[in-house]
Symmetry: C2
């Protein structure tokens, strides 16, 4: 079993609606020190061992897990 953690974030300059909403809500709750909130995805993926796993996980990100037009992603392999 191979395990990966994938971090998906909006590219710089792309509007992040959940982040903007959380930012405003926190300030309204009294956390006036909040400057910026960006909310992306934290994906934990487990796949069966096989050939070319790392390349296939990159493909999965490009095809489905992220939207490369507006998002960046970072893949970390976390199994031994």
């Amino acid at each position: 079993m191979a395990r990966y953690e994938i971090y998906v974030t909006y590219k710089d300059g792309i509007f992040d609606p959940p982040g903007a909403t959380a930012e405003r809500a926190l300030v309204n709750l009294g956390y006036e020190e909040v400057e910026r909130v960006r909310i992306g995805k934290y994906i934990q993926l487990a796949i069966e061992d096989g050939d070319g796993e790392d390349a296939r996980v990159k493909e999965m990100c490009d095809k489905l897990l992220a939207n490369p037009v507006i998002e960046d992603y970072r893949i970390e392999r976390v199994d031994g």
Copy 2:
């Protein structure tokens, strides 16, 4: 400026609809090696320097950024 990264995940045993959907979609796309996908949130937070920042960020998680009933979170301070 203090910077934090917060990882929000569903607790074990809590159904993760986006993760389950991505898992099925990846298998349908031919990635039959996929065993499990869990999708949580990756939050980047920047706040002004002040007193008791770490405790206030924990409060923000409990009140708004995560739902402690069904989600776990991990906070990492990433500035210097």
